[in-house]
Subunit: 197 residues, 2 copies
């Protein structure tokens, strides 16, 4: 059995991850993962996103028939002063989060897992990128939150959308901030026998 | 006359710049600019991309009727060891360029101009981002060039395509590398009375 011809499944309902995986030109199908996203308190950010990427891949793999597939999953968190910022539950929380982030540097961690089904073997890794957000007035933040863009995003902004105008610069991999580190994923896929070109 | 309701023209035939401007949610039309792209020898990279962005905007503005419009133009160059790398004329040149870039850091400069027509006033600026390309074997480079992606790209790679897997990290603004610094453009548009949100 050639792993190179295995069907690829993206275990994610994120349209950003789907778009990024599409940019690599490989055919794949999407299966949303409903894994438990709780993590033990005190877990370091890198281990956090790897654990969740592995768990998301495993949950989707277990739903598959016995035919060989590769399941790709990812997890992303935003970290400020060592504290993880999640997705804002409502606009007021998004405003508060952006007030914390504005004018400062924070880290975005993304973990990736490539899971071999039905063998149950996997490889995973993570990347970390530092993001400098521009100084923003409360009024500017309020107008951004009113666009609706921040509401389903970790850290309350989307660097690939209007949020691009809020970011001064990054140090690291851009795709880690969007939610799927493509250089890491291409390494993990190569180890699984899948060459992109 | 409110500048905020001026029609916006993108003076570029680049599909990447069109996609990026679209991500800001403003309506605009596209007019390809056929400006002379020659620059005096010895021009520093920042001045180089600003000069060309201004010239592209001016050429398109001069073709417009007298109704008020804002013309947006941009120019991007890749610089290695102070030398500008252009678009590769054929695959052999792309291979040579990528052999120079692999395993090293280079700079990408993008200039932006917002031109007020018919007044003939403009504002411009530029951003510079450093890009670390991964170490690549000749065979890997040859396979990448065979995808056809490098052939119309300054520096022979597309960070928003398969080239994403060739880049280790960046230091600066990602959109500068794609070809249109969105944070700089949003500042120039704000100065012209155009708020994105």
């Amino acid at each position: 059995m050639q792993t190179a011809v295995r069907r690829l499944i993206l275990a994610s309902s994120s349209p950003r991850r789907r778009d990024l995986l599409q940019s690599l030109g490989l055919p794949f199908t999407v299966v949303a993962s409903h894994a438990d996203e709780s993590v033990a308190p005190g877990t370091p950010p890198g281990a956090w996103v790897e654990q969740l990427a592995v768990r998301k891949a495993q949950v989707v793999a277990q739903q598959q028939p016995a035919q060989p597939v590769l399941v790709v999953a990812a997890d992303t968190i935003v970290v400020l002063d060592g504290k993880v910022l999640g997705k804002p539950p409502q606009p007021a929380a998004a405003i508060e989060m952006l007030q914390q982030l504005q004018g400062r540097v924070h880290e975005v961690y993304s973990g990736v897992c490539v899971w071999h089904h039905p063998e149950g073997q996997y490889r995973c890794g993570h990347r970390c990128t530092r993001v400098w957000m521009r100084p923003l007035t409360l009024e500017h933040i309020q107008r951004y939150v009113r666009t609706g863009e921040p509401l389903d995003k970790a850290g309350s902004y989307a660097i690939q959308g209007l949020g691009a105008t809020l970011v001064e610069k990054i140090d690291g991999d851009y795709f880690t901030v969007v939610g799927l580190p493509l250089n890491l994923l291409s390494d993990l896929l190569a180890e699984a026998g899948v060459a992109l070109f």
